[in-house]
Symmetry: C2
């Protein structure tokens, strides 16, 4: 068996048209600038200069460095396919600022330099110090990979070396780990780009140390002269009533390989599991990958919205319990879905199983893409699956993160730059190389270049995906080469078919773990035509999902659909569809940037029958109403109103 | 038209058998003692002695007096039908303690005497000072009416006189009103028992003053040298995001007659509306009754659970918006349903419309009675309409008041004694006298005595109600008397019938506003047989109630039914019934104290089909499952588990 796939780097994949070209251009032309302006406006950039002094307004927050880092990372990715001197200069200016503020020992953290100087590494539990370091390292790696420029990378190597001198198993080091996972992922990236094994070892140390007894966060609290059982942190955690104990919010309630269910803060959980997969891949420690598989089943079979949203509960932004998947009240943080993609990608590389790519696709097109407006400059933190009028008044909303209308920024603004860096680097999720061949994970118009067994291979996808399931894959090669081209057969497609150079080929017997392997002597000009018919279907949820009993969602291909009031009138929760509803799909190029709508005939109860009546044993008459569904990701880009994913099923 | 009904006092109605006899005996023998023990154990009784001093443990709370008062009121009612020297002595001891602690000016309040001395009347907004006074006055009136003993009444008259000297329109008085309504009701009771019109006028003053501009609570805050816009109270209110502004929590956002929707804290709202009805009845101010009718429509047509539960949202224990009636997450405080009965009773007396008695019955048998265990010593604060396993773990529950298992007491323990006083005085809701005759509002085995037009009339109900809809009403009279005996035709009954002395009588033409008026020369020994068939029916909610679309509840007569896991297994949310389900009703004398169960055949999806699958477009097979429903009020008296009222409807 092959050991792992090697992903084709983002910059080798060029979206030369189609769905993702549009998104990447919007990301580049609007999102990146809008976010930069927010970094300026909110003082995040200025704070890096570390001129702020106690008593002045604009107290830098402990997570600000990370927002800047994710912006740099995003910008870095874009430079590889869209040269921009001005943008590069902006980045270099920030890098120079960081360089100036970096301590001689390599340390760099705005908050602990100017807001709480002298408290370095005293509160890993909640202060995001290693988290910020992680994002800076990821940004530095991306900038180096994109531009070849080494200054930022060296700055962050110095910081990583310093961190490595502070944390680890040796007696004189701190035996701790971050409250918010992230640096684990960054250290593996730094290891891959530098080859320095200490970074991988430190990442694995943070993973292995997590959740050991006695709990590090308690020891750390005692060193701050706090009573860990009665600290403000602990009291807030106690109010959160975590069944697995207060440290489950940080996945620190048990050693990671003993964790069987996804617990606590969903973004942290996703980053941890992704880091566990990375460490498993790189060190060959199969116990980490085995633990990941158990957690994966729990998440994707019991704790995930149909959109790929994870983390149900807003207080603690966290997982709750199996099959608890509310629609209006669900949290589904955009960052958590992004984290799920990070994790799924690593599991895919480790296992060669297309089920992980199915989740990447499902999450990307639904729970992640809903996080940004079609205008590119407004963002969801939380991604509910239904919205009723009461959610627009402030009666229930306690938090802008829960607003059913996208916001231009948030006080804690992790999601907008996280989404931007994913979109900017999305090419990196499309292809991988195994020992025996090339794997295609995702579909979408693009042109890519890779080298397999010394031969340059170009792969071009011609497709209207995700609007249409026909994909032509054209190969160009330096010279003919015998290898397996493995294409993912999407889990959502029940009638896939394929042809090579115009001749139909049977998929029987060649599909393994969701990949159809076409092994032959490939020549330049060969092409595969894939057809993944996309008929709208009604999808039900597991009968234990009490919120969706008697309901079904419309899916078409990878896209989850929803109804909005602007297209359908109100009382969407009383629209019912029959089991055998006929659907009509139509591409509307002028609607919401160009989407396929799905129309059908449903029913609702006549409201006139109910005037002045709240409860009745009389049978209520129904009337037929035509419904128009749009892709979930495109909701909330017109007049605010009701929205619903899960419709009544007759 | 008659002006108003006069209720027959509780002590004239003797539950000599049947449903309410059992409840009153349990109330007397268990609940009353259990609550007394809690008053002792929690220090509430001891606190009345006012020996506590700052720095000592057991800080008396600002609402403690009211808990004691409601216990006295309950005990007082019971003495009228169950003489008990020991109990009477307990009450007298408390009265003596209150007498000793009363100030010379008449003032009595434990909290403001020993915890915050010198701050009398400085925070009507949140400190329950007038609320406690109200409950003490109600207790004193009840004790006087039950025993004829005047001491407590005189103590409270002195207090009321003092309050009257402090509040009112005169320039030297405080132009305020309580943050928690209650004294308004008490003052009307005191007026009725003393004939002193000042008490009625003061009650009406509190009502009329409420919600005027500038807001009294703000003025009061300024007098405490607080900035009303940035006080802790205000910040907590702002977090509650009331659409009608922060003072809507206290029904103080607009003058009461301008309030068109039920807003804010539900118990406060119910007490206010009841007080408005009282004042309307007693002063003839029809604008107050008109305002009540508008609010009544809003509550009962848009904001009330099928159980008579009101007040949806736990934060603020308050109303939210029209048709927002969740099942698991609903608050439905027991006290709010009790308050709804207080209000409905007054509306009934003012209007002669049986629709108000329908709500009394519906609320009493469902939302109120669910508040106490069948053992009599455990209580619900919140009354949800569905419970899933996650609610038993502490994952979601932030507050014992939200527990799906009854508790023996609460820190704020208004509900248990409130429920006890309602049950103890329930006879007072059964009959009224109008100018033209006698009205029967509620059904249940009892024997009652009243005087109409100088003639003593005895009415005896023989019935198994609420288990059976047959009621025989026997009359005994000193001498024959020509009058209308008006019996309520329950709104839930579609095929009522009646006979007099064995001869069938047509109801056609004699039913007005829900009362069938039998006018004749009544003689001793005459009897009416009423038959209100009780077939179980499926009830739907208004299509705007999004939480119950596609669902129906089982009702049988006045009782709402529910399914519990102990009878039905789990996944109750996936039980579906067809429109034409056949139901079987059976009285089970050994089950839950003797109840009628309702059985039917429903369906659920096969869970085995779903192993490892969270979402599927495959049609899921169903299997038939027999269901057993029990009355909602009897739930949570056996093994904890799932519970559901609203079932899927095929």
């Amino acid at each position: 068996m092959e050991k792992k796939m090697t992903p084709v780097i983002w910059k080798a994949v060029d979206f030369d048209g189609g769905f993702w070209k549009e998104r990447q251009e919007l990301n580049l032309n609007v999102t990146l600038n809008a976010e930069y302006e927010q970094l300026v406006k909110t003082g995040r950039l200025e704070a890096l200069k570390q001129q702020w002094r106690p008593g002045q307004p604009g107290n830098p927050h402990h997570y600000w460095d990370s927002d800047v880092a994710k912006w740099i990372e995003t910008a870095a990715y874009t430079l590889s396919y869209h040269a921009d001197d001005k943008l590069e200069k902006k980045i270099d200016t920030i890098i120079n600022t960081i360089e100036k503020a970096q301590f001689d020992d390599g340390y760099f953290n705005t908050y602990f330099t100017i807001v709480e100087p002298g408290k370095r590494w005293t509160n890993l539990h909640v202060m995001h110090e290693l988290y910020c370091a992680g994002h800076l390292i990821e940004a530095a790696v991306a900038y180096f990979e994109s531009t070849g420029k080494r200054k930022f990378l060296y700055i962050m190597i110095a910081y990583a070396d310093y961190i490595d001198s502070v944390f680890g198993p040796e007696e004189d080091k701190i035996h701790g780990y971050p409250g918010h996972e992230e640096i684990e992922l960054a250290l593996v990236k730094l290891y891959r780009v530098t080859g320095e094994k200490r970074y991988l070892a430190l990442s694995k140390y943070f993973i292995d140390e997590r959740g050991k007894t006695p709990n590090f966060f308690e020891q750390e609290a005692r060193q701050r002269n706090e009573d860990p059982d009665h600290s403000p942190i602990r009291e807030s955690l106690n109010r959160n009533y975590l069944a697995e104990g207060p440290y489950a919010l940080f996945q620190a309630h048990a050693p990671v390989c003993q964790q069987k269910t996804a617990e606590g803060h969903a973004v942290r959980a996703m980053y941890l599991y992704a880091a566990m997969a990375d460490a498993g891949i790189e060190t060959g420690d199969s116990s980490l990958l085995d633990a990941c598989k158990v957690l994966w089943s729990n998440v994707t079979e019991k704790r995930m919205s149909i959109t790929g949203g994870v983390g149900t509960f807003d207080e603690g932004e966290r997982f709750t319990y199996d099959y608890n998947l509310p629609n209006e009240a669900v949290y589904n943080e955009t960052c958590a879905s992004i984290g799920l993609i990070f994790w799924a990608h690593r599991m895919l590389l480790a296992t060669f199983d297309a089920k992980y790519a199915d989740i990447i696709e499902q999450t990307l097109f639904n729970g992640v893409l809903s996080g940004v407006s079609l205008s590119g400059d407004r963002f969801f933190y939380s991604n509910p699956l239904a919205v009723s009028p009461g959610m627009y008044s402030n009666r229930i909303i306690r938090n802008p993160r829960l607003s059913p209308q996208r916001q231009s920024w948030f006080e804690v603004s992790c999601c907008p730059p996280n989404l931007a860096r994913l979109v900017a680097s999305l090419g990196g999720y499309f292809y991988s190389l195994g020992e025996k061949g090339i794997y295609i994970h995702l579909y979408g118009q693009n042109s890519s270049q890779m080298t397999f067994k010394g031969t340059k291979v170009g792969i071009r996808q011609h497709t209207e995906f995700p609007w249409d399931g026909k994909i032509r894959i054209e190969l160009s090669l330096d010279s003919p080469l015998d290898f397996a081209l493995s294409v993912r057969i999407p889990g959502w497609c029940s009638t896939p078919s394929a042809s090579i150079n115009g001749t139909s080929v049977s998929l029987a017997g060649i599909v393994k773990d969701g990949f159809a392997g076409f092994k032959r002597l490939w020549q330049s000009g060969d092409y595969i035509d894939l057809a993944f018919p996309m008929e709208p279907v009604l999808v039900e949820a597991h009968p234990r999902v009490r919120q969706n009993c008697g309901r079904a969602a419309i899916k078409r291909g990878p896209l989850v659909y929803c109804l909005e009031e602007v297209d359908n009138g109100d009382r969407l929760w009383d629209v019912s569809l029959s089991e055998n509803t006929d659907f009509t799909s139509t591409f509307k190029k002028d609607l919401l940037g160009g989407i396929v709508t799905v129309k059908a005939k449903g029913k609702s109860r006549k409201i006139e029958d109910w005037d002045g009546t709240l409860y009745s044993s009389q049978r209520s008459d129904s009337y037929e109403r035509e419904i128009t569904a749009i892709p979930y990701f495109a909701w909330s880009n017109r007049n605010p109103g009701e929205m619903i994913v899960w419709l009544r099923k007759e």
